[in-house]
Amino acid sequence: MSPRRRPARRPGARLRRAVLNALGLGVFVVAVFPVCWMVSTAFKPNDEIFATTPHPLPAHPTLRHFDTVLTGKVAGVPFWHYFANSAIVATATVAVSGLLALLAATAVARFRFRFRTGFLVMLLVVQMVPAEALVIPLFTDLARLDLLNDLAGLIAVYVAFALPFGVWMLRGFVAAVPRELEEAAALDGAGPLRTFFRVVLPLVAPGLIATSIFSFITAWNEFLFAFTFLKDQDKATLPIMLQFFFGRSGNDWGPIMAASTLFTVPVIGFFLLVHRRLAGPGLTAGAVRA
């Protein structure tokens, strides 16, 4: 139960440790198995995929399914086109939401002003509203503005979804920057902008990375809004392509798993690289504490 282990001395401690490690391995296997099975299927030739006795690893690994996905077209559009759309949407979401969240976080962490509490509560409440409920009014609004088949419309919506969390997350980081540092910079004659870029920005960079990962994943993975807004296949993002592919080719699991792998593995790799920053106590502390 204790978070930090002490050297095991009591009798039975070794057994306890063995049981705990076995449980840990069990959790590990359950957590990674579906993804491993996806990757493994993607490399299997068809006769192994549909074998009556499935094997965990491909006996004769093949790149054929990846070739099918990368050189073929889904709904007349090549894979790389979907990939590019996803990359554009995710990058723009990260850049815009990061900037806006940093500005707002500076305001709530550094200043006392009349609507501060109101603003923070609003950020919290809008996170409670199911996004699924907003898809209808946002669809009709974008339709009236003629932004439906436009990546810009989708990016704007993703920025709005990423912002509340970003502000909550970043305000802790901004508040942690010692005020004395800023004052010292001001005394040395640095203007507010210079102080911001030279003093504040480097110190909040870890928080900015964490929020960027969050908004990147939000935008990269999102399905419902992309599916509803982007009606031209030409404009579609990867999740839409995957769902379409899955719906059309039914049981052709090889290419489906290959496409899923190409879509998923980059996100997982990305996430594993930086999860320590995202999974720190700040994640819930921001929501628990005022």
Partner: protein
């Protein structure tokens, strides 16, 4: 013993709060903070708050494709609500939504908490390995997860069917390899529950672990000396101290699971009306046919939102109180 716990709790909760400013600070520019929040306020206002207002209005109107081209929408009062309340499909979808959320939230919180406690008692290297593993599940996109689960539970070459047929027939029956998991609501929701819990327990585990790290070791030490069991230590020490975190996690799990859309959409689809939940039902009314009924879909979305807000109101109230006191 009890005193120790309370004192420590006070110490944990009373630690300096990084989120709030230390006091009123006078700055040269009074306009500053307003200018800083203005862009976020505009984006959130236009794209999150305005649609919420609008969905309430649209739920009282008759809105179709023609209204998108500039025709004024006709006010119909509560007709949309009356229509969905009289629709059997609504009640089926509501039942599915509530039952699924109850099961999935409970399972996610239990699995996540147990994993968090386990991570806390593992050695450093083992803990890092398991954390890395659950990150994989956490990072997996919803569409991918749903597609992989429908492959695992598929009828041709599906791994789960093969495995269940390996088990003794007396235990689980036979014929699993040709069993269609997506033909009826109950098995569909079983797969959905597994899929959703698999994706969401890592977040709970990592948050519980982060909370555990704030609990002083001496508390457990003292409790152990007093001869307590692990079960007692959890309910007497861990749970009371982490109560705020559990509050947030419960709220988040409720929000996720009441509105689950993508996974069910991929696993079951719009054609399978018997297996609808409220999200899918609303979506299908609004977008599912050529004769779009945005007003009707809005009414369903309003009902869903109200349920979620009602369930999570307790948490929002706590935060408002804390913000007011800060």
């Amino acid at each position: 013993m009890i005193e120790t716990v309370e004192e420590a709790g006070r110490r944990v909760r009373g630690s300096p709060d990084p989120g709030s400013p230390t006091g009123p600070v006078r700055r040269r520019v009074r306009l500053g903070p307003y200018l800083l929040i203005l862009p976020s306020l505009v984006v959130i206002g236009v794209l999150l708050v305005w649609p919420v207002i609008q969905i309430g209005r649209m739920s009282l109107q008759n809105v179709g494709v023609r209204q998108l081209r500039g025709r004024p929408a006709e006010n119909v009062g509560l007709a949309n609500y009356r229509r969905i309340l009289g629709d059997d499909l609504f009640w089926t979808a509501l039942r599915h939504t509530v039952l699924f959320a109850a099961v999935a939230v409970t399972a996610t919180l239990i699995a996540g908490t147990l994993t968090g406690l386990l991570l806390g008692s593992l050695g450093r290297r083992m803990s890092a390995l398991v954390t890395g593993g659950i990150m994989v599940a956490w990072a997996t996109p919803q569409v991918t997860a749903a597609i992989v689960f429908s492959w695992l539970f598929g009828t041709t070459g599906g791994l789960v069917g093969w495995f269940l047929d390996l088990l003794p027939d007396g235990l689980v029956g036979s014929g699993w390899q040709s069993y269609n998991w997506f033909a009826r609501p109950l098995p569909t929701y079983t797969v959905l529950t597994l899929c959703v819990v698999w994706m969401s327990f890592p977040f709970i585990a990592v948050s519980v672990l982060a909370g555990l790290r704030t609990v002083p070791d001496e508390l457990y030490e003292a409790a152990r000396v007093d001869g307590s069991t692990a079960w007692q230590r959890f309910w007497k020490i861990t749970f009371p101290l982490l109560r705020p975190i559990f509050g947030v996690l419960l709220t988040l799990a409720v929000i996720w699971d009441f509105r689950v859309f993508t996974q069910l959409f991929v696993l079951s689809g719009l054609a399978n009306r018997d297996a609808f939940n409220l999200s899918l039902y609303g979506y299908s009314e609004a977008f599912g046919s050529l004769n779009a009924k945005y007003g009707l879909g809005s009414a369903i979305a309003v009902v869903l939102t109200l349920i979620v807000l009602l369930v999570t109101a307790v948490h929002v109230r706590t935060v408002i109180r804390q913000e007011g006191a800060a």
